[in-house]
Amino acid sequence: MGFTVNLSSLRYYLKNPMQLILSIVGVALGVGVVVSIDLANESAYEAFKLSMRSVSGNATHYISGGPNGFSDSVYRQLKVDMGFRKAAPVVEKFIRIKDGKFGVVTLMGIDPFAEQGFRNYVNADDFNFGGALGDFIMSENAVIIPKDLANELNKSIGDTIIAESDGKIFTMSIAGIIEPDENSIDLKNFVFTDISTAQHLLGMGDMISRIDLMLPEEYEKQIIYELKQKLPDYANINPSAARSKAGSGMTESFRINLAAMSLLALIVGIFLIYNTMTFAVVRRRRYIGLLRSLGVTGNEIYFLVLREAFIIGLIGTFLGIVIGIQLGYFMTNLVTKVINDMYFVLQVQTVEVSSLSLLKGMVLGLAATVIAALKPAHEAGKVPAGMALVRSSQEKKLKSQISKFNIFGIIIFLSALPILIVETDSIYLTYLGVVPVILGFSLLIPQFIIVIVAIIKPVVSKLFGTIGSMAARSIVTQLSRTTIAVAALCVAVSAAIGIGTMVKSFRNTVDDWLHFRLKADIYASVPTNVSRFNDGTFSRDIAARILELDEVRAMNLYREYQLNDGGRIYHLLAAQVQSFEHEQFKTEGGISMDELWDKFQNENSIIMSESFAFKNKVEVGDTLSLVTDKGRVTFNIDGLYYDYSSDIGLLMLGMNTYLKHFDDEMLSGIAVFAKEGVNIDSLERKIKIAAGDDIEFLIRSNKRLIDGSIEIFDRTFIITNVLQLLAISVAFIGILSALMALQLERAREFGVLRSIGMTPAQLRKLVILQTGIMGFIAAIAALPLGNILAYILVTVVNKRSFGWTVNFEFIPEYMLQGFVVSILASVLAGIYPAIKLSQSSPANSLREE
């Protein structure tokens, strides 16, 4: 008998293939989006760990110090004076390869004699001591590159590579090509050279970037303590990059937000399954009643429906995983781009198709389907033997419950408030707070429909006559079905409006901020590797030459530096500015701008960006201890300012203060104010000439810098837009399916209408009009919900994830877009049933009874 029932299930779905396909595609897309984002996040994370492992090798800690590295005397002290054995000096810098399109690689200068045990890439043992080692160590530009990079650049031994660092161009000659013999490292983006060659090429003289250490775990603390006692103050001991969470922590908020947004697509998918299963049960009510009278128990029916849902979920999930893997490559690319713009240099070689990601997608997909099918299955199990429950009783039940729905809806809606208001670090919890908002609002939809229909009915009947008023009325009479479709459409459109409005509000805020902040006429710096960090360096001589130009009225000097304090990254911005007026500052404790200016000039005063305050839970008036070249220094946080360039947070300090604590005469950027009436283009050219030929200097006018910044902003939000688009696609399919189901279910009703004289054309009009009106209602409902969601995203989610204050704005274009999508989707959804229903003969439709 089970077989017969299974066959009948199959027959039902084959008879309604459109339903089946739409459901499967809906689930597949939902799962696909979740899986692809998970794969992208994991791949980026794995690539990061891999590159950190490749860099640190077996090092457990490293000594760092100073913005431009530190003297090799620390290394000598460590090894010669203290007899410390497990230490390897490194000169390291990102460089850009100029030939070909390859981009940024790490130039790693190592001492082959000290490498043993740390990294096994370029080791003294690999050389024959007579010639090759000597050539490698003594050459002015010999490098060894990994085979992958050689292939990418299409270069072989003896060829040269032209590269740039801090604007300086130099040539390296390939002396050797290596292939890593371990799979756990990723060397593609490394160029190895002797430490002396690296010092020479980068103009570092006797400076080194860091000293890698291998400390035995059991004595780790003791050794660190001893080293700190003996080494100079600026020598800072950090856990190795591979061990430190610093890097991965930077991107955590970003990754969680992506994952949360990807779930949105799946939630829309759940609506879809719910709708399909409900429809499948309703359509077979007579048949189910028959089965019951034949002795099939309610439980058996319940599991039959669940199993159907499970199979749909299974096929959908499976397809979703396949889609997810394909989409994963695309998403990984986007995620990598954002990380490179915002956080650090990262090159992801492979998409990690981890079983865990796929399993996550599978469990989510199946669980979502089964949960969505629980209620329809329960309903099916309750169908009494031999008779079909008349729907009108259901409608009556719903109508009598509307006030209950309203109360519940409001309560659930309001229950989101404590979650959203209470201070929490958990981004997941914050997103969870969005759920009651959507759910509560959905419960208000029946009331909403009644109200809107009451309002528009006169208009519709005037425009479309009896058919129009029929269409409007039928939406209310079938409230139990239309509510689900309208709610699904409303949620989907709201999500689109919400995300769009959030991004646009953010963009406008950033744009205002850029215009407000960037007041100089021309900005100049050397190329950097991470768009949001301007930490390349050039010498003060260049700035001095530019200041001497007749056209220059004044100049601001900047130095940006990422300070690593025991594994924690601080982004410092030392500024020597003309006036504070072009910065937005918020001070507390009644300090006036003049006082702040004074302190900023002379004392250990710093001003933090909003993100910094948020990420580090500090307030204006607090102190902050930082390791400097002169030892640990306590700074007073005297102000807070708005900055949208980094979600890690910035610390701004006066150039004088910076120079007092750091032995660093280099600059990262200058802002030039031109004299009245000076032609900016010609001044740009003059600055270029003043900078000299041997440096690649990026000179940008105010407008170009703002445009460039906005471009980067847009680039970082591409992935958000893609997710929004995917969520809309799932929603679109959902609406199509839901409305189609709704109309097809009414075949008998339409049969009656046809038999009492309605023409096929009138019927078509009725169906399309009805779905159109539903689309309209959903769009109207989506306006408040969409903006509420946007408001939550802007003021709560964004603030808790990144700490930025963004001004919420109503964005009419997204509301209009939502409106158009909504009505378009519903009208389209009406076309197929309209045609199908108007073609079927009324007798056939009626015969079913």
Partner: protein
């Protein structure tokens, strides 16, 4: 009902297995990383011949300058070996050597503190005779940024913290310098004062020691054949206060082995009748001796050249290392001219230094007769070229 549950369950299990299998397949594919063949760095680069100074004729040694380095020669070493004991009769042997190896005869002109053309290596080994244990370690460093190097004032040769030096304020006789040697490895360490008991011995022709019959294939070579040694040995957590005799060899050259020569057996023997013997034999591929010579040092410090035909050296025992390489472990050394008959045997079988260059540097004990008198003694044997 049960049937439904069972069939549903079976379906779930079946599909799960299928999916896991597929995932596993995908996973496998993603791990299909091409296999790697290491391309040796040395293969990728060319050796250079260089334009080094050569030991062609005897030179006038000047001290302390000649105790320090001669960077225009290709190779150079400061070679200490010794046999010591503590008050409880525990016997120890040690070797502490610093090598200098020029990477090129050209100088470098890079804007870099780490730039150099000199490489320094140190080998440090300790034989714990009583416990039959052998410890060894090495260190190497570029001769730049004062990480390793040699200076004259104060006299100091070092590889990182392993040093051979005189006191910084030493103003004694540099012909009879009071050396301090100090080395610490992970689990063993030494710190000795080493003072010559006999005057300097210049080998070969006034310090010019030929290594084959090819002119220029020679080194400058002098020794202190008996040096009073006192100080501390540390093995693990145990400290030993020791005394005994050391032998120091100083040699620099640009010579290499002649073709056909694969290695050498080299001996420094300190007899308890105040005689010392240095003797080496270079070996051919077929293990036959190719070229050899030595020096006999008398109690008053006078010394005499030993030519190969004066010595009858025979291997009487072998020791095989774990990799199957065979080293001699006992010898008979006889001389009619000098009237001695010595049985030489390694004190601990395994004294092989398994470093980049593998060789055997082992403490030996001596039993025998000299001019009819029974004698004992200790010394060192260096055996190279046995693992090629």
């Amino acid at each position: 009902m049960k049937r439904y549950l069972m069939s549903t369950g079976a379906l779930i299990i079946f599909v799960t297995i299928v999916i896991l299998f597929l995932i596993y397949g995908i996973q496998r594919d993603s791990e299909l990383i091409p296999s790697y063949n290491t391309v040796s760095v040395s293969d990728a680069m060319n050796a250079n011949e260089g334009n080094y100074a050569k030991a062609l004729e005897p030179r006038k040694f000047v001290f302390p300058e000649d105790h320090s380095s001669h960077d225009d020669f290709k190779i150079e070493w400061w070679y200490f070996t010794g046999n010591l004991s503590d008050e409880n009769g525990n016997r120890f042997g040690y070797q502490f050597t610093i090598f200098r190896n020029a990477l090129s005869s050209d100088s470098v002109s890079k804007q870099s503190s780490m730039s150099t053309n000199q490489l320094y290596l140190a080998h440090f080994a300790l034989t714990d005779v009583s416990n039959g244990k052998f410890y060894y370690a090495d260190k190497y460093s570029r001769g730049a940024a004062n990480m390793a190097g040699a200076s004259v004032w104060p006299l100091k040769i070092h590889v990182e913290d392993w040093t051979i030096s005189t006191n910084e304020d030493y103003d004694g006789d540099y012909l009879m310098p009071e050396f301090k040697i100090k080395a610490e490895a992970d689990d063993f360490a030494i710190e000795f004062d080493v003072v010559p008991l006999k005057s300097i011995v210049k080998h070969g022709i006034n310090g010019l020691s030929a290594k084959s019959n090819t002119p220029g294939n020679a080194s400058y070579y002098y020794s202190y054949t008996r040096m009073d040694t006192r100080g501390k040995i540390k093995i693990g957590e145990k400290n030993f206060s020791v005394s005994g005799n050391s032998w120091m060899d100083r040699e620099w050259s640009t010579s290499a082995l002649d073709s056909g020569q694969v290695g050498w057996d080299w001996f420094s023997l300190q007899l308890d009748n105040e005689h010392e013997i240095m003797f080496f034999m270079l070996r051919n591929q077929d293990d036959s001796f190719n070229f050899g010579k030595g020096t006999m040092v008398y109690p008053d410090g006078k010394h005499e050249f030993i030519s190969p035909e004066d010595i009858d050296l025979k291997v009487s025992k072998h020791w095989t290392n774990k990799d199957g390489h065979q080293y001699p472990s006992a010898w008979t050394m006889k001389s009619i001219k000098f009237d001695f008959d010595l049985n030489i045997e390694t004190q601990v079988p395994d004294q092989e230094l398994k470093l980049i260059i593998r060789y055997y540097e082992g403490s030996v004990s001596i039993n025998g007769t000299h001019k009819g008198q029974k004698l004992k003694g200790y010394g060192y044997a260096e055996l190279t070229g046995y693992t090629n």
